[in-house]
């Protein structure tokens, strides 16, 4: 092989790998990305049933209802609107009424979120960032209250 051919082989191989990588990334982008919504946005945006989303806010006081088989229902609020959530499984240790929560799952036709993941904050000092933003949008956020 001449020098030129060797160089072309190298460039060709790099090109092929990069094209494959870009293809994989674009393919994954279209299928596996989840958008975050605040409860108010969920109510206003009329999401199609089956859409996968993430919502964040506070667990509404008095809304937690535990059923059998670890079924749990609660409402996520940003102070203006609420979205009911259904989840089966163990909620995190720091899941409490009046505390910040993030839930991910599919929207159902009746406006309920069928969650497969429920996240709470790591400790009492922090509020999930997404919850802070949702509360800021609805004007219920006080600076310093998460500290």
């Amino acid at each position: 092989m001449t020098r030129k051919q060797r160089r072309l082989t190298l460039i060709g191989a790099s090109g092929v790998v990069l094209v494959i990588a870009v293809g994989l990334v674009l393919n994954a982008m279209s299928g596996s990305i989840v958008f975050f919504h605040s409860p108010t946005e969920v109510i206003h945006d009329h999401l199609a049933p089956g859409t996968r989303i993430r919502i964040g806010g506070l667990v509404k006081a008095g809304s937690v209802k535990r059923g059998d088989n670890l079924n749990i229902r609660f409402e996520v609020t940003d102070g203006k609107n609420e979205v009911p959530v259904h989840f089966q499984g163990l909620v995190p240790d720091l899941f409490r009424e009046g505390q910040g929560v993030v839930a991910e799952g599919k929207m159902e036709a009746n406006g309920m979120l069928d969650a497969d993941t429920v996240l709470a904050k790591h400790d009492e000092r922090y509020m999930p960032k997404e919850v802070v933003e949702a509360l800021k949008k609805s004007g219920r956020w006080q600076e310093g209250s998460a500290k």
């Binding site: 990588a21 994954a28 240790d93 400790d123 009492e124």
Partner: protein, 659 residues
Amino acid sequence: MIPELGHYALVLALALGLIQSVVPVIGAKTGDAALMRLANSTALMQFGFVALSFAALMTCYVTSDFSVVTVFENSNSMMPLIYKMTSVWGNHEGSMLLWVLILALFGALVALFGGNLPASLKANALAVQSWIASAFYLFILLTSNPFLRLQPAPFEGQSLNPILQDPGLAVHPPLLYLGYVGFSMAFSFAIAALIEGRIDAAWARWVRPWTLAAWMALTLGIAGGSYWSYYTLGWGGFWFWDPVENASLMPWLAGTALLHSAVVMEKRNALKIWTILLAILTFSLSLIGTFLVRSGVLTSVHSFAVDPRRGVFILAILVLFIGGSLSLFAWRASVLKQGGLFAPVSREGALVLNNLFLTTCCLTVLVGTLYPLALQAITGSKITVGAPFFNMTFGPLFLALMFAMPFGPLLAWKRGDLLGAAQRLMTAFGGGIIALALAFVIEGRTPVLAPFGVGLAFFVMVGALVDLAERTGLFRVPLASVRQRAIGLPRSAWGTAVAHFGIAVSLLGIVGATAWGTERIIEIKPAQSVSLSGYTLSFEGLTRKQGPNYTAEVGKFTVREGDSMIGVMQPSKRNFATRETTTNEAALMARGVGQLYLSLGDSKPDGSVAIRLYYKPLVMLIWLGAVIMMLGGALSLSDRRLRVGAPKPAAKSVLQPAE
């Protein structure tokens, strides 16, 4: 008095850092040996002062001096001594001090052990190292001073975040930082080479041991962090593709690529410019990692406190160093003499392929990590890029890399024989196919890709053994000479085989734990039992226990396999009054290299409790593989050609003309 001493020592370190940033460069430019030598003393003194500063902070924590703000915020007189000590780096300020301590340590090590380096290269590299150090000293002193006082001093501190009160925290951050910061050496040497406009095979030989040491620490650090999250977060996952985890994975991928390209440079005097670029990129990714974790851009257990000034400061450091080094690269790279090209099918070609795949893998992780941040900054919409994205992008690329892995070491330098390599790998193919078939038979066809993963893992493992057998002449020559050859074989060849074996072991663990793991999430009352994968757990009841700074709810479960009792599992939940926080302590029971994993959820007044029970076959292999990889690195590091100051006349004659 002690905090002020620590503060003052850090200021002195900065002053020394500024001197070391300028004087050695002038010395190297003018050829003044005295000015160049100055870097040695300042590097050692810098380390001395930073160590003093760190020791002062440690003293404040150990003696619970709550007049210091960070001690008040992160420590508590009731905490066990070990956690008082680890609290030093369990917060933003202290962890940055640890960061610069390790940076100064590497500088001091170069000053001490770099005796055989060309004087100007050493002076320039130490100066560059000092640029980084000075920037971070300034950062600490201006925005994150760990020695700030509180008036009046409170009687009691607020304690460390309970989730961080774990022995794992004693080793995870220091190891991770040894890795992150260790890559600064490769960076400093790369910049020094660009300043001098000269680079040769010897450069790679000096840089490789530092990179290798950093890589080993990072490998262990990542594996340790993964195991820590596995057993403390209570849901049995070992990798979450969390941005903070990605921040440590990216320098690892780039650093692995750098190790491989440095081999080509050392042996064949080729790929010089690419190696320099990789050295710059690897440390840049470490800096990006520090920025992501420390700036509060991300919410995670790693982001301690959010102060926008800090984010801006680190971003400025980031832009300065990454932008500056890449500009210098663009300006000076053409000065470096490019090495020769080589045949695509050759050891060099295989290593290039390795680099191509590793950097592309790294790129997909970078895209997945930064895209949500970029999208939010531009459009304001918030998205999550989770595991599915990385499984679909990083996964296939890395598996392709692993398939190519056994071929590399079997190809000769300059011109390899792909067909011959494939023939010699027949045993490995056979091993892989048998493993694949066995996996199909034992575990069935779901999920369909899992048996192929097992096959691939065995292909790579047997491939690594074939490589060793080929080199030692096993099965071809009498055993006595095999022994001779095994002893004579360079340690780096052993290192390659062991490290490649290790990554395959990890792959096997990942496949086993994710594909064939089983789980039950149920509510259970005392005297009831639950079965999973042939194990039966009977719930004996909950008891309360008092720890040093928490109260715990402990569940007791007896475990039976078939009819025989094999042990007791006691998962617990700890309640920390000082922080109104609970942590989950999962109970683990080893079954071969698999594990039973049990964690507690909420309990009800009637005595029932929610539990998560997992059976994770092969799961221990994930971390065992990382340890094997680290040992491979250690073997390679002990290779005599890399040993610093190896008394070999031939080596001396290479070193001297560079003076």
